[in-house]
Amino acid sequence: MVHALGEIHRTLSPSGVLIDLRPLANGAPVEIVSARETLTAGRFEQTPQDIRLDEAADAAIAEAGSVERFSHEREARFPFNYYFDSPSELEDWAREDWGEDAATLSEEARARMRAAWAVADGDARLRLSMPMFIARWRRLPA
């Protein structure tokens, strides 16, 4: 990745900006949301691989800063929300999109989610709030 950041540095104009936008491995909460209420149903568990990927991304961009290619200007965190019509739709999507080895709901969290869903309001949907990270880096002169 450090080589890639070198290439990005080369292709950016002298006052160019690098934006790093990515999801974080922090356990994403699952909520049951209706017009009347929001209930926390569970949380996806991070896998060691997710945590390693986060750490590798942080290390790569920090190294780019340390070799004076980019200067960190600011960063923010925000939720990227997915909405589902049922627990099975959410779980099918997570398996397909993230893969079998990625973050999962524990059996306890799944049972809690399904129990809460069974008595949820008619207008309820399931919300998965993916924690996101965005940072701005200014290109430094070569």
């Binding site: 080589h3 990005i8 292709t11 900006v17 990515r22 909405y83």
Partner: protein, 98 residues
């Protein structure tokens, strides 16, 4: 109802708070199927969207809105060897790809 992704538009809001896109030349790395590209490309002067996965790239090319076809170019490749001249872009966006 189908699965909804970021109906609040948080991603675009945060992106626009972080960087001025209007009139800029943008290189998006890891553009996938163009999901995020479509949201901001109309503001940019031009967007080069780089994606390694052939299937995603195909979807992006097919689904590119007509209004954006002159502004957005999709290229298959990774960020290790960027096939562009120096200083070609004002903004580089690592899109869920670091």
């Amino acid at each position: 109802m189908t699965i909804q992704r970021d109906p609040e538009g948080n991603e675009l809001k945060q992106l626009r708070q972080m960087v001025e896109i209007s009139g800029r030349r943008v290189l998006e790395i890891g553009s996938g199927d163009g999901r995020l590209t479509w949201k901001y490309a109309g503001l940019a002067r031009e967007v080069v969207a780089l994606e390694l996965e052939r299937d995603d790239l195909l979807i992006a090319r097919v689904e590119c809105p007509v209004a954006l076809r002159r502004q957005v170019v999709f290229i298959r490749g990774d960020s290790i060897h960027l096939p562009f001249r120096g200083a070609a872009f004002d903004v580089a966006l690592l899109s869920w790809s670091l």
